[in-house]
Amino acid sequence: MTRSVAFDVFRFAVILIALVLALVPILWMVSMAFKPVAEWQATGAALTWVPRAPTLDNFRFLFGQSGSDLIVALDRKVGKPILSSLLSSGFGTLIAMSAGTAAAYGLSRFGSGANLPLALIQLRLFPPMAVMIPVMIMWAFLGLIDSWWGLALIYGIVTLPFAFWLMKTFFDDMPKEIEEAALVEGCSRWRVFTRVTLPMMAAPLAAASLFVFILNWSDYLIALLLTTREWVTIPVYMASLSSSMTGQLYGAKAALGLIAAVPPVILGLVIQKHLVRGLTFGALKQ
């Protein structure tokens, strides 16, 4: 391909615009998170893109420390919702990865559970909204409403398709010679799986786990329907940071949004090269 200077300039300009568009909404939230109350709703000429008097008050407020200009007091601090998000996403990932990895290995090596791939794709196709009535009834019956373990269970099921497909493509790619050598040595199939295969797959397992964790961490709708007060997750808690009494707590919400956004962005960058595989159910490898 002949490459001209004009093309390089054009590409540079387009990519620059794209970068600005991608970053500005995020940076606005970062800026808002450090703004004092007086600048939250400043408009027109007073509107500030960069806080004039940057402060950590919004974060202090979330964690229940007074000393900010905010007159309202939080009836509930942010610690519990963060814990709830961590526990439900973490254990949900554990459930999805355990069941998904085992099933992926079973299908990849022994052809067991041939119905699973399609069943799991269909599971993904359904809007969660369309199965929530029975789930809400079942969860109420099992006493799982408003608990992190109830959320973890549904997260584990909802993200199972991703865990399964990712691990299946990883197992399919893995050379079988080493396993066969171990079998010849007299190891049982189970021992080969736990002592030979899984250790070799440590890196893919970690990448898939992080991917599934991001998906769980990103949920809003399910937590909105299945938690009410004690174990609300960060996004649900965030929506509660406004009322007719206080109005929108812009800065506090932005600070919380920043707290919620940081882990998945960092984890996503860590597993960058596996993203395509994960998002396309392994149909595409990078």
Binding site: Q41, A42, G44, L120, I137, M138, W190
Partner: protein
């Protein structure tokens, strides 16, 4: 000799194939149970409830929902529910506008990223950042951006004589536009990511050969790139269409489905009647109908793809 060794039968006692089949069955069992737990049983429950007028407000436990039996009345109502149909058209409109724009922007950007250039890695990382942002948080970002005194209007004011004070989220049309812009912002990176992975796989020597033979960039794109990319493009678009049909988080935080019902998409409508009207028998009927339509659509799409 350990206990485990003692218990294990002699290698010849059990054929390896049978051993494998047994382990395979056991390994897939947990996933099978979870699928049954979330798919089969709930669907049967949903079918049962959809044939009744049951609601959690009745005070009756759901197994006794037959006391409120009303046959197929819910399914008949569904066809006369103007709000439902409006929400469906609205959802399709959002998909029809957002997904093609995301596709074209993603493809365009991906084409600029095929060759190396300085800073490519950093630019790539920044470009895919929006899709990592928790959708509910993205919803709040755009809620702030589109306030009447917010930065979007501030930017627009640079180009207009009068300061712009448009209340984006309080007017039906602009609210829908804002919601679509948020979706494009968050999900163009997904298209970019997938399409770039596909473009990188297009053999460069073929492109070079075609260029030597005098094919224009447009010709090369149509005759070499598109045929090679067809499957990947279909995957990318299908993924986005499926996800966009479910659109809820970002939109719900930005507008709550309002003003009025201007941005009430299908998921928002179902959420509203689930949590406010609590007519769960009817909700179950709608949900089942959606599942049937989507499954038929998926089967049809797969048949076409195989052919």
């Amino acid at each position: 000799m350990t206990m485990a060794d003692a218990r294990r039968p002699a290698p010849a006692a059990r054929p390896a194939a049978e051993d494998g089949a047994r382990l395979g069955f056991r390994l897939t069992l947990p996933a099978q149970i979870l699928v049954l737990f979330i798919a089969v049983f709930p669907l049967l429950m949903q079918l049962y409830i959809s044939l009744t007028d049951w609601s959690p407000l009745t005070g009756t436990a759901w197994p006794r929902a037959w006391e409120y039996w009303n046959g197929f009345a819910n399914y008949v109502d569904l066809f006369n529910d103007a709000k439902l149909w409006r929400s469906i058209w609205r959802t399709l409109l959002v998909v029809a506008i957002a997904v093609p724009i995301e596709f074209l922007l993603g493809l365009g950007l991906a084409m600029l990223f095929v060759d190396d250039f300085p800073g490519k890695k950093v630019a790539y990382s920044i470009l895919i950042a929006p899709m990592m942002v928790v959708p509910a948080v993205a919803g709040y970002m755009f809620f702030m951006l589109f306030q009447s005194g917010g930065p979007v209007n501030d930017l627009l004011s640079w180009f207009t004589p009068e300061p712009v004070a448009l209340a984006w989220l309080s007017q039906p049309t602009t609210a829908l536009v804002a919601v679509i812009i948020a979706d494009i912002w968050q999900w163009t990176p997904l298209m970019f990511l997938i399409l770039l992975a596909g473009l990188v796989g297009v053999p460069q020597d073929q492109l070079r050969a075609a260029a030597l033979l005098g094919a224009s960039p447009a010709q090369r794109f149509v005759t070499i790139v598109i045929p090679r990319m067809k499957a990947i493009m279909i995957i990318a678009i299908a993924l986005r269409v499926i996800e966009c049909l479910k659109i809820f988080d970002t939109l719900f935080i930005m507008t709550g489905g309002g003003p009025g019902d201007a941005t009430q998409t299908l998921s928002v409508y179902i959420y509203d009647i689930t949590t406010q009207d609590l007519i769960w028998g009817y909700v179950a009927a709608i949900a089942l109908a959606i599942l049937v339509v989507l499954s038929l659509g998926a089967v049809w799409a797969m048949r076409r793809m195989v052919r």
